[in-house]
Symmetry: C2
Subunit: 329 residues, 2 copies
DNA sequence: AAAAGAAATGAAATCGATTACATTTTCATA
DNA sequence: TATGAAAATGTAATCGATTTCATTTCTTTT
């Protein structure tokens, strides 16, 4: 547990010199450098980040806000963030908010108290007012979900277009009665995906039927199962379902299975996100793939740039429709 | 961005008094306290944890080491850890090691450099020598997986017994040819689960057949699929499979499905962990439930106790066999 | 009203680094 | 060899809190 003073003493130099050796920037005579390095070895010295961080007024920690760690959608994004962060000597503090403001606030406090330098928010349920306020003093990036028009840079995909393509695909393979399994429209992605759904229907002159639009409280299997139960109870049952999340779609598949309804012959299903599990279901799930790793990496890069005081612009990434068994028997 | 000095000045008191108000322990006259609190409000002051942490020589961050964030097994454990940590004013730094020593080392460095106070390791692939060495100077708890006999406290379940019960269940419903889908035996849980498997077989006078014991490199769906492919290619095909992880079991189910083999009639399957997905498969998966939330909470509690310099003892928690469709058609 | 004891407050050291500025050393050149 | 510029090194302030010990203020008691 040696500190820089002791190293300096041992090496017979000043702490400034030790610090210079540590950071390798200023020139130090190689003989001196050697002495210092020996002292470091002998004392088993590890520089304390507490001291360094205080002096530099930074924590080199970035906060990642996600609604639920159990949604696999975030895995690859997190990986992308983490790798970029590590490469720039940042660590990530992963915060599951459960979409609860109190919990959110605990973590926001870490930023206010300098324990974290900035935030990447992926929580659609984040309190946008608080976020806006924080953004005035701290670096914040929105990833995947974003509250538009509030001046916080974001990286995301074009949800409306993705949704449009998914529904168009269903129409093109012959479906006319297509249900939408959406989540709460307070989330921008939900509004956009609905817009894409409606645009596709409109393009083919199909009516938007209220009964075909379901809203789920959350994005879990159970909610997909429940929603599918309601769909099956409909008098004029649709022949296809587009769910705005793979988790919902998988819950729906489960319910269809239980009801003995064949997918895709009796009912086609499309999901969204291309989580790993979507390839393990029976049938495998047609879905929209987002460039998640890339999205994460870009978000981290943007945050770091922001922290450096650079100007950063929002980014919209490409997506892809992955056609699998649930729409093509 | 006010600091404690400015608050003191504004309130017309010394920094010591401000600090006392902040920490609420020492007695401060209520009039003074009021003045300080007003100053804090007026200046919008937030105490910096950088300063506090340096002075207190602690970071109030605990490191959580997991091999892969994509294994749902860890979700509830992490929740348990997080909640306990937050309640004690700790934050958690989640580290996915990918079972790569370099990455492990990046995170270990955070501990050496005082950026984290202690570690909860859940990585079976962790370098046990490094861990042992670190444990001499820092607080470390092993959770779920543990390297025995090295004096690092752990919390886990009795894997041998759990495995024994799972296999016994298969035997009791009539199976005689039972395959084991295990992971690498360098992991203690793998060795223990194999031991339980063998004990159950022995108890019923069944032979241990080498061909029936498969090893997978990792615990992902794909590995379960591959392993099941091998099993299906066996000349004398077993009638049941016990997989040491739900992910493997789900991959196996997928492969069985693809091969048109009925589960459980033609082949019964048992998993391990009771992850959420295990209830979404068709058929639903019989599995061993671990008290994951509790395990996490206890691990965090143990780590905090350790950091306080208290004596902590290892804990073994209960498990439960959950019988579902994959073993009872 | 004075003295003693308790309560409140303050001054200054401390945690462990970085860095601006000052000083010393080195070395080429005249 | 003296000189001056360049290179190396050192001194001390600083980041923002906590805390020990000293001092001041307030109560209580006689």
């Amino acid at each position: 547990m040696a500190n820089i003073q002791q190293v300096a003493k041992q090496a017979g130099v000043s702490v400034a010199t030790v610090s210079r050796v540590l950071n390798g920037q200023n020139k130090v005579a190689s003989r001196t450098k050697q002495k210092v390095e020996n002292a470091i070895k002998e004392l088993n010295y590890e520089p304390s980040m507490l001291g360094r961080n205080l002096r530099n007024s930074e924590s080199r920690i970035m906060l990642i806000l996600i609604p639920a760690i159990s949604n696999p959608f975030y895995f690859e994004i997190i990986k992308g963030i983490e790798n970029m962060a590590l490469s720039q000597n940042y660590s990530i503090l992963l915060c599951e908010t459960d979409s609860r403001p109190e919990k959110e606030d605990i973590y926001f406090d870490l930023v206010r108290k300098k324990m974290a330098d900035g935030i990447i928010s992926m929580d659609p349920a984040v309190n946008i007012e608080t976020l806006k306020e924080l953004a005035e003093k701290y670096a914040i990036i929105q990833c995947s979900e974003y509250g538009g028009g509030i001046g916080i840079p974001y990286v995301t995909i074009d949800s409306e277009e993705a949704s449009y393509r998914a529904v168009k695909h269903l129409i093109q393979i012959g479906h006319r009665k297509i249900a939408l399994m959406n989540s709460d429209e307070k989330f921008s992605y939900a509004r956009e995906r609905k817009a894409g759904y409606e645009r596709a229907l409109a393009e083919y002159g199909l009516p938007v039927i209220d009964d075909y639009i379901l809203y789920t409280q959350q994005l879990g299997f159970e909610y997909g199962q429940q929603a599918m139960k309601k769909i099956l109870a409909l008098p004029d049952r649709p022949t296809a379902v587009f769910a705005v999340s793979d988790l919902l779609a998988i819950g729906a598949l489960k319910e269809l299975n239980a009801a003995g309804i064949h997918v895709p012959n009796d009912m086609a299903v499309v999901g969204f996100d291309k989580i790993d599990f979507s390839n393990m279901t029976n049938p495998t799930l047609t879905t929209i793939a987002q460039p998640m790793y890339k999205m994460g990496a870009i978000a981290a890069r943007m945050l770091i740039d922001l922290l450096r005081g650079e100007q950063v612009d929002s980014v919209v990434l490409e997506h892809e429709l992955i056609i699998r068994e649930s729409t093509s028997g």
